[in-house]
Amino acid sequence: MQYTLLILVLPLLSFIVLGLVDSKWKPKVAGTIGTVVLGIMMALSYYTAWEYFSLHKINGIYEKVIPMNMEWIRFTEFLHIDLGILLDPISVMMLVVITTISFLVNFYSLSYMHGEKGFQRYYAFLSLFTFSMLGLVVATNIFQMYIFWELVGVSSFLLIGFYYTKPSAVAAAKKAFIVTRFADLFFLIGILILSFYTKTFDFGALTAEHPTVFAGAAGATFMGYGVISWAMAGIFIGGAGKSAMFPLQIWLPDAMEGPTPVSALIHAATMVVAGVFLVARFFPVYYFQTPEVLHGVAYIGAFTALFAAVIACVQTDIKRVLAFSTISQIAFMMVALGVSGYEGQEGTGFMASMFHLFTHAMFKALLFLGAGSVIHAVHSNEIKDMGGLRKYMPITNWTFFIACLAIAGIPPFSGFFSKDEILSASYEFSPFMGGIMTFIAALTAFYMFRLYFSIFWGKDYVVKASHGHDDHGHGHTPHESPFLMSFPLIFLAAVTCVAGFIPFGEFVSSTGADYHIHINATVAIMSVVVASISILVATLMYRKPTATPDKLASTFSGLYKGASNRFYLDEVYLFITRKIIFNSVSRPIAWFDRHVIDATMDGFANTTQWVSVKIKGFQSGQVQQYAYVFLLGTLLIAALIIIF
């Protein structure tokens, strides 16, 4: 399966070519190249998936295939950094998800980004992102993963700051980069501790059924916990940074400053699930070596899911609602991993997490692309500027509706199946966890339908009369998006309708063996009922303009205000960084830099200058004077030679 290398090389080439020619080629050419390359990669990924899942099953277990692996840097006989490609069920599944969403987003952007300045740059960055994300999922060792992990961060930074003339976009890009980078510091520390004790970077050795590499770390502890626990906690913090877990989630809502297709690709479907993928990749290590950390993952996930869902209920910017919903859904996946067992039916959580990752990528990309279509039509992100759009944009309306049903967990849409598995895994873990997750699922249904009704129903759309001129050449009434934009919507909606029936457990499970999905009737009925009630409440409140939302807001004014301001977490961060870290750490260090280090360097420079001014007189420019000195020198040397 050597050809899988092409999947990695193609987007890199596309990035280099598009990045180098930049504006020398017409936007259309750049866009076509980017999209066609992605199309080829998508076909290749599908072929890889077909070949892998049909040919590489040995004794009922999917084996790990490493088509290529080369040594890159060698430290010792055991410790070396490799670059290679590892195919196993989860990485093949990710290949399919990433290339599919990436292709659709490229396709969609042809129309959405039409006429934007820097169109070619946009496509170059998209290719860079796809390259890094694919490199991340097929990594054969932690270090390769870390390299691509950072590359993903960079491309996310570049794309959030795509409108770099807008101060808010620049600030958002910086925030995303710094927060994730801060988390990655812990990731690096985790990697270093882990490799120090296990003497390997290789996933194969670390996640083997009966790993021998942990023997060296058996007795070593730090502050009461084993060193491996600390290492795995550090690695999880890295994942939490990328996947926006509490309290590192603050960057994701701001990241919506980027173009909407980028939000769909990076900040909803692919990059933000990198943390989940990381935990899944290390799952055997978490489960067997450090179960306490795995439980921590579950609790942090549950809290984040609740926290984000509450905030999502009151946000007024449609992309931010979707952003908080993304945080909440990713937290669902984390919970599923955290509560999972390992073998057989106990491995529900793992399978459910990956399944939810798969279905969520599809319907959340659909939601974002739908939101992009709406924003394209009304030129605003705010709910108050929308309402009654169903008459103008039927395709967007229906596809958005399907996605909302899917995320709310209504059968037969894909979200129901995956979420149901997560809920039953949570109930198996503890009824308390299950109860919380059900409550969050209800909140999810509520806020998604609040969003849906606010955009497409509610008050009638007020056509703006005094719009002046229109630079897009269409009338003042909102209109359905062109084919280039509606095709991805329809495609994703179709996937969302059928994806739930994929026998996902036969492809992806914690051990690689078959897993048969059983719908747990009690849990399923309960979750559907709860979701339906939430949808009903949302329908009553938002289908027609009513006073209920405002009344509720004033009744729970404390909660409402807190949630609107995202529970002041950003302010807390600002306080900690500006007041505490800047004053007590950064300023003294800056003083030291300026008054000690710089002063030393200035001292060298000043001394040199002083000396050179003093000896400048020797250099008179008079040839004869030089000759005189030369003669004296010669005579002196001659005299010395004669004497000694």
Partner: protein, 112 residues
């Protein structure tokens, strides 16, 4: 007295040749250091070169009579001295065109 006898006998000793070249060389150095005109400095340099040529020839003649290296080296030096003079005069002419002077003291731009 020995020296005088030798001279009279037609055998000039090496020390005399070396004495001549020594005088020429230091006359050249003196000229180089004291003259103001660049042309005179150039002539002084030629004087020093010629002193060196004499040394080559003399050492070859008296110390290694069977060999020719010293003579040829002297010929080389003469050729190179001719080239060097041509270049130097070209430089001096250019300096004169720019500064209307061949006084070496006026040429102090080299310090910058």
């Amino acid at each position: 007295m020995d020296i005088l006898n030798n001279i009279l006998a037609g055998q000039i000793p090496m020390e005399l040749y070396l004495g001549v070249s020594l005088i020429m060389f230091f006359a050249g150095i003196y000229g180089f250091l004291s003259r103001r005109s660049m042309l005179m400095i150039l002539i002084s340099i030629e004087l020093m070169l010629n002193a060196a040529d004499i040394n080559f020839v003399v050492f070859n003649r008296y110390l290694f009579p069977g060999q020719m290296e010293g003579f040829f080296f002297a010929l080389f030096t003469i050729a190179i001295a001719a080239c060097e003079t041509a270049v130097a005069i070209a430089i001096i002419i250019n300096i004169y065109r720019n500064l209307t002077s061949v006084e070496v003291g006026t040429l102090d731009q080299m310090k910058e």
